[in-house]
Symmetry: C2
Subunit: 537 residues, 2 copies
């Protein structure tokens, strides 16, 4: 039943989708929190009311909870400030409006700031000098890596000074015995991968944005990506961090040890904190050996139930060589065909699975895969499939999964949700959403990382459609909360989702996050308006 692979076109970068959104709204004030007092938290009734109010059009003019709050009373950039920056960063204090513009707008072109300066430090000491100065002068700072984030966390909201790590791109060391890489935060993920390839190793994470994203940003956003199923999250693979705190203090936790139980594991605080607690300047990370053999299969399933059973079978039979278990639905396939002219490499099915194996012995891996496929077909879990072992064919099969995002941008205006759920539930969200929206949406599609319980739900419409948005939200968030899921599995909260945090975190937890923010950044200068909900400010 397995057929010869039909070549699809190669991976290419998705074009930017233009949909600039202006941002202004009246909200919260900056109030310091008294950390000595007991945690001030909301009762569950208050919390419910908050969530309901987020979406209520009380006066007909209520802005979206994703819109930016009012500018906080930070200082405005002065000529004197620029003179100082030019002294410490000669030639690397960028004020040319054309150059600054690309750092003001996010990759999706969905949010835009109005910063007037981009600072490009090369050393930790320079980052420290910048933050010491900004903290003293009450100047807000937007730390920026590759600017590939999807939730408006990587660009300024108003006139925050952009602190770019792009020139901090040195590899500091690599230990071939332990596989520990240490590098500056601005190293581009793909460059690190290429460097490691020569050392017979790979990075423990891989992303579609690898050509632009930086390791510091990956860590700051706790990027998940395509290898998480196999190598685990950055909370496990990052061994050390160097971080500059809001006041300019350098926190050196740049250990290269797999084990270190001397006190609290402070680096963990900064993994996933989206630049709101400190600026990551260097990273040490545990890198696996490069697998000697990689195989990819693309399979079709009649039901999502069968797909889940195939996943279970796969965990048992492929075991230690399973490195990805991804899926897309038939709606995704329709968009790939319609907008990108890709050819379905197998016969049409309601669901498609992409399985990747990575191992140290090609013949063993092929045999395991063969046994699994035989069992999956005999048990009627999959109805069709194709296998790729050559690199170009592997890339082409992967593109069926990776280019869904690109196909979606051609389908119209995108409403994007990145949800994690107990794995049995993930596709119910799509079917329920489809039923809920009826014919109000153009397309409702689901794809993602089954192995991680992570689905990307996307809804498209011909153009921006507030009525459609009101039908999607809070439905999607309430549905997710009801099923104990996360409203942001890997994209983070940034600007756009900060006010939805209560759907996935208890009010106690959110209050404690506020305390931590105040402890580490008392003036709130680091990446303001991001991650934490407005009522904490």
């Amino acid at each position: 039943m397995l057929r010869v692979f039909q070549r699809t076109s190669r991976l290419s970068r998705a074009p930017r989708h233009p949909c600039i959104q202006s941002a202004a709204s009246p909200t919260a004030q900056f109030l310091p929190v008294d950390l000595q007092s007991p945690l001030p938290v909301w009762g569950s009734a208050q919390f419910k009311v908050f969530c309901q109010n987020l979406h209520k059009e009380t006066d007909g003019h209520r802005p979206s909870p994703a819109a930016a709050p009012e500018r906080r009373p930070f200082s405005r950039l002065s000529g004197e400030d620029l003179d100082y920056f030019r002294t410490i960063l000669p030639g690397r204090t960028i004020t040319d409006p054309d150059l600054v513009e690309s750092s003001n707008v996010d990759w999706l072109k969905s949010v835009r700031g109005s910063s007037e300066v981009v600072l490009r430090p090369q050393t930790t000491e320079e980052v420290s000098q910048i933050l010491r100065y900004c903290n003293k002068g009450n100047l807000a700072v937007n730390p920026q890596g590759g600017n590939t984030g999807l939730v408006g966390g990587s660009v300024p909201v108003y006139d925050e000074i952009i602190l770019s790590t792009s020139l901090m791109n040195n590899i500091l060391s690599f230990d071939n015995i332990s596989g520990v890489l240490t590098c500056q935060a601005g190293c581009v993920l793909e460059n690190l991968s290429q460097f490691l390839e020569e050392q017979d190793h790979i990075m423990p994470l891989d992303l579609g944005a690898k050509g632009s994203c930086q390791i510091g940003g990956n860590v700051a956003t706790n990027a998940g990506g395509l290898r998480l199923l196999r190598y685990g999250s950055l909370h496990g693979t990052v061994l050390g961090l160097e971080v500059v705190l809001a006041g300019g203090q350098v926190l050196d936790c740049l250990a290269t040890l797999r084990k270190d139980n001397t006190g609290y594991d402070l680096k963990q605080l900064f993994i996933g904190s989206e630049g709101t607690l400190g600026v990551i300047t260097a990273v040490s990370i545990l890198c696996p050996r490069k697998p000697k053999s990689v195989n990819v299969v693309f399979l079709g399933c009649e039901t999502f139930e069968q797909l889940l059973r195939a996943f279970q079978l796969c965990r048992g039979m492929l075991g230690e060589i399973l490195s990805a278990f991804e899926f897309l639905d038939s709606e995704c396939m329709r968009l790939l065909k319609t907008h990108l002219k890709l050819t379905n490499p197998i016969s049409d099915c309601p669901f498609y699975i992409l399985i990747e194996t990575s191992g140290s012995d090609p013949s063993h891996d092929e045999q395991k895969l063969h046994n699994f496929l035989e069992e999956a077909m005999t048990s009627l879990l999959v109805s069709d499939g194709t296998v790729a072992t050559e690199e170009s064919k592997i890339k082409a099969l992967w593109s069926m999964r990776e280019r869904v995002t690109e196909a979606l941008t051609h389908d119209g205006f995108n409403y994007k949700y990145d949800i994690s759920l107990p794995v049995e539930q993930i596709y119910h969200l799509v079917t329920d959403m489809r039923q809920h929206l009826g014919n109000r949406a153009k397309s409702v599609v689901g794809y993602g990382h089954v192995g991680d319980g992570n689905i990307h739900l996307n809804v498209t419409s011909a153009a921006r459609d507030p009525a459609l948005l009101a039908a999607i939200e809070p439905f999607v968030y309430e549905w997710t909360a009801r099923h104990h899921g996360s409203i942001s599995a890997e994209h983070g909260l940034g600007l756009k989702k900060r006010n939805y945090i209560h759907y996935s975190k208890s009010s106690q937890a959110v209050a404690l996050m506020g305390h931590i923010k105040t402890m580490l950044d008392p003036k709130g200068i680091l990446n303001p308006y991001k991650t934490l909900p407005d009522h904490l400010r």
Copy 2:
């Protein structure tokens, strides 16, 4: 060259080593930290002086830095307090001195507290009630799991109330598709392993103390153990925690999701905080599938350099099935023979390696192992070896590594160090220590987890010997700091090592830990005198 396996005796629990140590010394006062001010930290000069002073006999009476500081001004337990506890925990408020005694003394019998009561809550709500009451009344609390810690962290120092999680031993859920287990903190590790075995899964960690240690304690101490090389640290495998904070607030971060980027990952703070920031009441953890085949080989090497080359070869050739790479030196083997009458299963060598593989296909695993052994022997990296595939033989080979601790207790008084280092350096510590001590020590041995860069250095003497201790410390800590290692790889700091933290953590980092402690436990009632150095109190 591979020979038939010769049976060694089975695993047995090491006997407790009696060496009660009285604890009292004049030191630091409890000073609240102002969290709004910039981090108050020491300059590196101050830090050096502190480390030197730790070991200086200024007045001939200076106690060891490991000795307990003065009792802090917590309230004393009253009859009224006991009445309250008996009301909320009827029949589970233990005051019988014989029963309390075993909770006052640690497993090594190296430290002893003088608590008068052990509380045995069954629910999170009861833990919350206890802490709310204790925090209000300024009563200190010692959270206790299986009491198997090695650094005096698990027992009271003075009269702290012992809060035992032993009766919180319910498994709450297990998801067979994702492999996520959720349970109360008091579940014994071995019981969880047995439960999972029936579900075709295993725990991601395994320890010698598995018969007594509890999962809550494992998480609180960030236990490493024998499977870390394969499945990574608890920072990666723990998906959620429920924690009761000092004031009784329940922090619900008990997610069961592999991915969740909604705000700061608070649970990470409590992993490895040794009960000083909160009491862990429930854990959710990602469990791997049970491997279908396990093999163990025991090999001999002529030099440590060869052993490291064998490790590198092993990473490449065994790849994804490698699950342990442990070692012991010839001195360990001498003690196993002398004190436990074990027989070396291979010919005598300066170094011994134990390699374990775990995989999903027995024939593939055996072939990989065979290829590796052939290459290792052809390249003269190993000089002798034996293989075990049956469970009883596997256990016997493992006992050559696991019973070293027991053999050491028969050799005399033990000075134990748990050090992690860049892997190339780990054995240099042993040879340098041997040279440094000359004939002052009875034995100086090294064994441990090569794969994790973690060595257990042990020095023995006929009896407790302050002069020998003065020769070992600070030498061992200074050596470790000079080589960028950790002075506690997996054992934690507890009471005994709290004042040595500066050897592995920067003063900025230690200061920040103090801030976090003060934020979460303003009165310092949770596991006082542990983890953080006296000068922060």
